[in-house]
């Protein structure tokens, strides 16, 4: 089933642009229908999965590395698969209407389908590497979708920001997953199978802690970046630049929950380890509270929903940290239902009224009754009102926290405060626009069409209405009669999170309301206080202005500064690497060379055997060496080019003399010929050049002298200490022996050149040829350029 679903989604993604072109009006329905069938298929698997039988399949991918294309559908995977395959098609239907006529709609639908495939793959993957691959694909498709309105700079910025934050988290995650795999493998190769990892006993061994500790931090960093935990949350509100279908699907119900998914997935293996639990609890609680506070101060529809999403993700992480598998599963489902619904409703509101701010909207219930029904049901569920499923979720969360003992109390307080803010946000975003005085929309924005204005806001056609109505209805049904689908989903998901089946307990709203407990009382109190706060929201915002101002210097503001800083650093590094000038570059290279070789030589400490080296030296040798040394020193001292060339010619002659003295007359003759030519040609060139000007100061000259001298001395020292150290006979001895009998040549040098090492000679011939070709061509181009200055 999972593979079939993946295949269908990929095929649809490929087909989407063509379908869009062939049937522009019905494309949305054509693309959405097969996915809804997939959702039905997954739902049909629910009883089996709830009964504990999981479909799994595996194909080898890179067996050498232990990587397999392995899929497995357990309760947790199935919950997400159903969410993807129901919310997904609603998004496609919505986009088909709201972006109708957009030239890039086909590509948009295609990307959306790619995302769905990636998200589905992520949750059904049973191999860490496969999971990671899908994880990164969801980040990248999210980047493309956020940047859909690519002409707007804000959209481009938000897209890049989301990609970098989630991508950076992804890298941490990769390292963390690899560490876990290595730790679970205990020396016999990493375990990439997710099931293998979860069943591994090795992770809890003290010996594995040096790997598991960092792994936990890295994996959670990845999860937190993806699921927008404070302080990595800032990309998510910005991601609301994306069109509504994207916000509803990616940035509320599925992709941002990938971090929660992975934390839940790894819970059986890592839950109970103090570091894991505490990180989840700490970051979860801070995020939950902080984001809810931010949501309570916003009035832009999508931002309110974005911040409450961040807050809910925090609650989910917190619940995972508590080990409250059932509460986490229930809230996960409840949130996906009501938040998806509310995002669609917010999108419809903005599309119909061209108003983005909740405060400016009221009394729309009469004009768009169906939207109102969906939105109000969604908002009630979000507020945690009886009898919707949101109530059950919150109730279970509070119960779990109350059961957590002494440190549960601060969590309970934080959750209740969060609930109050959430009620405010839910009423503002989902209820207020529909009640009260009828709207006065006499100033429609310029982009609305003439006929739109005539008609005014009204309920959209079914493709846009279906999603919110179904999701809202599902939230109601789940609360009233969880046995229909919610209970098996929640119980099997909780079993996946806990690693074993969890005990049965009431899940329906009624079952949780009666008999009443402390949690029920807290829940009702939060609802009442939230409504009070809604009434006083003006005063609340004014009162909290100072706090908001104090925290305004948030990560988002710093983002630009950080990018600018990165660019500035980069430019500095670039200058450094390029070297300020040619001489600077060469000087830097020489210093590094001397330092590295010098270090190696100092370690080895070779001592040249000067006595042996000096043995048998004649006066003539001394004289030749003296000429060499003096010309080397004199060359840079002479003030003119001609002089330098002449002095270097002297050095060349001395070198030829050395060869002559040590029995290589042919080499000596070659050297003399070459040196003579060089002197003649260089003089001819030098005569054409301007005089040398002294550019560098004395200090620079001394520095350069030092570099040059140390390089020369180092090489000389090495040559003296290394040569003839071993008893090994050089291969040239063999050349001498073989020259006559085997190569039929009496001049060994010639034989080496044309026989023993003929390939070198061939290569050198081509070196010369290439040089000649290059120089000829260069002169040609120079002449041409000279002709047309």
């Amino acid at each position: 089933m999972a593979l079939l679903a993946l295949a269908v989604l990929v095929v649809l993604a490929v087909a989407a642009p063509f379908v869009q072109r062939a049937a522009p009006r019905r494309a949305g329905a054509i693309l959405a229908a097969p996915i809804l069938l997939l959702a039905a298929g997954f739902l049909a698997e629910l009883p089996a999965v709830a009964g504990g039988t999981f479909a799994s399949s595996s194909w080898p991918w890179i067996p050498d590395l232990g990587i397999a294309f392995a899929l497995r559908v357990d309760g947790l995977a199935l919950l997400f698969a159903i969410l993807v395959c129901t919310v997904g098609p609603f998004s496609i239907l919505h986009a088909g209407e709201s972006l109708a006529g957009h030239p890039r709609l086909g590509r948009f639908q295609s990307t959306l389908l790619c995302f769905m495939a990636a998200m589905l793959g992520l949750v059904v993957a049973d191999d860490l590497i496969l999971l990671f691959a899908f994880w990164e694909l969801t980040s990248f498709t999210s980047f493309l979708l956020i940047g859909f309105d690519r002409e707007r700079a804000d959209a481009r910025r938000a897209a890049l920001q989301a990609l970098l934050v989630t991508g950076g988290g992804g890298l941490a995650l990769l390292a963390g997953l690899l560490l876990l795999a290595i730790a679970a493998g205990t020396g016999s190769g990493p375990v990439f199978s997710v099931q293998g990892l979860l069943e591994s006993e090795a992770l809890r061994e003290p010996a594995a802690w040096p790997l598991v500790g960092p792994a936990i931090v890295l994996v959670l960093a990845g999860c937190f970046a993806k699921s927008a935990m404070v302080p990595l949350h800032f990309w998510l509100p910005n991601a609301m630049e994306a069109p509504t279908p994207v916000s509803a699907l990616l940035h509320s119900s599925t992709m941002v929950k990938a971090g929660v998914y992975l934390a839940a997935r790894l819970s059986p293996a890592l839950g109970g380890i103090a570091l894991w639990d505490n990180l989840l609890l700490g970051f979860g609680a801070v995020t939950m509270l902080g984001a809810a506070f931010a949501a309570s101060r916003h009035s832009q529809l999508k931002k309110i929903l974005a911040y409450t999403t961040v807050s809910s993700l925090g609650l989910l992480m917190l619940l995972l940290g508590l080990g409250a598998a059932k509460a986490a599963a229930a809230y996960l489902l409840a949130h996906a239902l009501f938040k998806g619904c509310l995002f669609y409703c917010a999108g419809i509101l903005t599309e119909e009224t061209h108003v983005k701010y909740a405060e400016k909207l009221s009394g729309l219930a009469r004009l768009m009754p169906m939207t109102a029904v969906a939105a109000i049901l969604g908002a009630l569920s979000m507020a945690g009102a009886f009898p919707l499923f949101g109530f059950s979720g919150k109730e279970l969360a509070l119960k779990a926290e109350l059961a957590a003992g002494s440190f549960g109390l601060p969590l309970v307080i934080a959750t209740v405060v969060t609930a109050i803010f959430t009620v405010l946000a839910a009423v503002l975003a989902g209820i207020k626009p529909f009640v009260g005085a009828p709207p006065r929309l006499d100033e429609p924005s310029a982009e609305s069409h003439a006929d739109d204005r005539a008609a005014g806001p009204r309920d959209p056609a079914w493709p846009r209405l279906l999603g919110p109505l179904v999701l809202a209805g599902a939230g109601l049904v789940a609360g009233l009669a969880p046995g229909l689908f919610a209970k098996p989903m929640v119980m099997s998901t909780a079993a996946s999170i806990a690693g074993s089946a969890v005990p049965e307990s009431p899940l329906s709203a009624l079952g949780l309301l009666w008999p009443p407990t402390l949690a029920t009382a807290l829940s009702i109190a939060a609802l009442v206080l939230g409504i009070v706060l809604f009434a006083l929201r003006g005063a609340w915002r004014r009162a909290t202005d100072p706090i908001a101002a104090a925290s305004a210097f948030g990560p988002d503001r710093r983002w630009n500064a950080a990018l600018d800083g990165l660019m500035a650093t980069g430019r500095l590094v670039a200058t450094l690497l390029r070297g300020p000038t040619l001489t600077g570059a060469v000087r830097g290279a020489l210093i590094a060379i001397v330092a590295i070789i010098g270090l190696a030589a100092w370690r080895a400490g070779p001592r040249p055997d000067l006595k042996e080296a000096a043995e048998g030296t004649t006066l003539l040798d001394g004289a030749v060496v003296a000429v060499l040394v003096i010309s080397a020193i004199a060359a840079p001292m002479v003030g003119s080019r001609m002089g330098t060339i002449a002095v270097l010619g002297g050095a060349g002659a001395a070198l030829a003399a050395v060869f002559l003295l040590y029995g290589a007359p042919d080499l000596s003759m070659t050297t003399i010929a070459v040196e003579t030519l060089v002197v003649v040609i260089a003089s001819l060139v030098a005569a054409q050049l301007p005089r040398i000007k002294t550019i560098s100061g004395a200090a620079a000259r001394i520095r350069d002298l030092g570099i040059a001298a140390s390089f020369g001395l180092l090489v000389g020292w090495l040559a003296l200490s290394v040569a003839g150290r071993s008893e090994l006979k050089p291969v040239s001895d063999e050349h001498v022996l073989r020259s006559v009998p085997e190569a039929y040549g009496r001049n060994v040098v010639n034989v080496i050149l044309v026989d023993f090492r003929a390939l070198d000679t061939l290569g050198e011939i081509f070196v010369l040829g290439a040089a000649a070709v290059g120089v000829t061509a260069m002169l040609g181009t120079a002449r041409r350029r000279g002709a047309t200055p």
Binding site: I62, L65, G167, I596, A719, E742, V751, G763, G774
Partner: protein, 531 residues
């Protein structure tokens, strides 16, 4: 003899291109040869994979007295990559307008360059390697100054000066090695340095050579020539250089440090790892800050050389420090295999990104980001090719770079090399940033108001697009079908790490054993002149 073909065929063609009459002949010879070379390389690769490494004792002289040409699995992969790069860039440049004044020189030099690259990959002898390095340098410098665009000469001079420094060090190193142990054959060098019984001295002998290669490979702090020399080049030549030149340096580092300088792997490995970390980090930082596509790409080359060195250094350190033999062999193979897989993917992808820059330039007349925009709309084909290559470079799954990065990171974590692994991961993120910067600025953003309208691609557009598209397809295949690519890389790494076997192959498989026994004198040939 098969192993010599990748050298001899382009050399012969170079001579033909220079000598054949007619203005169009050089271009035709170049195109025909370049498109034929992948077949030659395939032949070598198949032979090597079927029946093991091929050792050619050139002229019938046994190693170490003559020159050995060694085609093992690593060398055969590199020869194949060089041939692919050659074919793609030459096909691409066949779409450029002919210039009868420079075509002959250009064709000759490109062929010489291809021969030199193949020679460097196949050389089993230090001095022979030097010769191919020289040919590589001379032909590439000739190509760099040939087209005479803007500040090409200035950039070329930085390149040539640092390369000459590299050559000097190479010669010094080769001389010192010969002075110390009297041999130039790489395998024999390894054997004799072991007999020397002074590991630290062996490292001293290695240092000038490894630095010489590091300059070629544009390793920090010897990277200055690369950003100076590459950006001004024409598209095809830039792509050719980007694909081949630095990789020859990396290859030489891997080759020599696994077969010749094996006395202190932990020291050399640590040095390589340090350089790798610095190169990755600094290269990518510099790349992110640039505002012109070729400049961004040039700095990225350096950065990615770091990844290749990382695998090499890890393998050496693992070989030296892992106690358990079975774990050591497996882990070192993975690390070095990661480096080789990285090279494999990088050569294809980086060449193609330079070609994409050429395509963009053809359409818009510039590669400055601030003057571009709207390419996703106007040129979806370029956009698709760029996206595939860019995501491969950034290592996004399941593109080609991901697997190489995955293997390297896994080896790094397993070996406990936290710092360099962390740098490798962060470098991946910054690479993604700079690639997406190009994407956002050049492809997404609307073109600036003052930008000239897209030009007609004109004649020759098809071969250009075909060359680039073919490389993108290869990159995609490496990514999706990671199994064969990893099989190749791993096999190559196994060859490299089985040093004793590798040395024996070169030293013992020849026409005679190197113990000094004479073979029977050839029948005297009356025609042969006496010297």
């Amino acid at each position: 003899m098969t192993a010599m073909l990748p050298i001899l065929v382009p050399l012969l063609a170079a001579a033909l291109a220079l000598a054949l009459p007619g203005d169009r002949a050089p271009r035709l010879v170049l195109l025909a040869t370049a498109l034929f070379l992948p077949l030659v390389a395939l032949l070598v690769m198949v032979r090597v994979h079927e029946s093991g490494a091929i050792v050619v004792h050139v002229g019938g002289w046994a190693a170490p007295f003559g020159i050995a040409i060694v085609a093992d699995r690593f060398a055969s992969i590199m020869v194949m990559l060089a041939a692919i790069v050659g074919a793609a860039t030459v096909l691409f440049s066949s779409g450029e307008a002919p210039d009868p004044r420079t075509d002959r020189a250009r064709s000759t030099l490109i062929l010489a360059l291809l021969a030199a690259a193949a020679g460097a990959f196949l050389a089993g002898d230090l001095f022979n390697l030097y010769v191919w390095f020289e040919l590589l340098l001379v032909s590439s410098f000739g190509l760099a100054v040939l087209e005479g665009r803007g500040n090409q000469l200035a950039g070329g001079i930085v390149y040539v000066v640092l390369s000459l420094l590299s050559s000097t060090l190479f010669l010094v190193g080769a001389g010192l090695c010969y002075g110390a142990v009297g041999t130039l054959n790489l395998a024999d060098l390894g054997v004799r340095l072991a007999e020397l019984g002074n590991p630290r001295l062996a490292t001293v002998l290695a240092s000038p050579l490894l630095i010489a290669f590091a300059i070629k490979a544009a390793v920090v702090p010897f990277v200055a020539w690369l950003p100076a020399a590459y950006p001004p080049l024409s598209s095809a030549i830039g792509a050719l250089f980007a694909g081949l030149l630095t990789k020859v340096g990396v290859y030489a580092i891997i080759r020599t440090s696994t077969i010749a300088f094996v006395q202190e792997p932990e020291v050399i490995g640590f040095a390589i790892l340090t350089a790798a970390g610095a190169t990755m980090a600094l290269g990518v930082l510099a790349a992110v800050s640039q505002a012109e596509i070729r400049r961004i790409l040039s700095f990225h080359i350096a950065s990615q050389i770091g990844y290749m060195l990382m695998g090499t250094g890890l393998a050496l350190v693992i070989v030296a420090t892992t106690p358990s033999e079975s774990v050591r062999a497996e882990l070192a193979t993975i690390a070095l295999g990661g480096a080789i897989l990285y090279i494999l993917h990088h050569i294809i992808v980086k060449t193609n990104l330079f070609l994409v820059a050429g395509l963009i330039e053809r359409r818009r007349g510039t590669t400055e980001l601030k003057a571009l925009g709207g390419l996703a709309q106007s040129d979806p084909a370029i956009a698709a090719i760029f996206l595939i290559s860019a995501l491969s470079l950034a290592g996004l799954p399941v593109f080609s770079g991901f697997w190489a990065k995955l293997v390297l990171v896994r080896a790094g974590l397993d070996a406990g090399a936290w710092i360099v692994t962390g740098i490798a991961l962060a470098t991946g993120l910054l690479t993604l940033l700079s690639m997406m910067k190009i994407w956002v600025e050049a492809f997404w953003r609307e073109p600036v108001a003052a930008a000239p309208p897209p030009r007609e691609p004109g004649p020759g557009w098809r071969p250009m697009l075909a060359a680039s598209g073919a490389l993108a397809a290869i990159a995609l295949a490496i990514g999706l079908g990671a199994r064969p690519a990893w099989w190749l890389a791993r096999g190559a790494a196994e060859d490299m790490l089985a040093r004793d076997a590798a040395a024996a192959r070169v030293l013992e498989g020849g026409p005679e054993t190197p113990t000094g026994e004479r073979r029977e004198p050839r029948a005297p040939d009356p025609e042969e002149p006496r010297r």
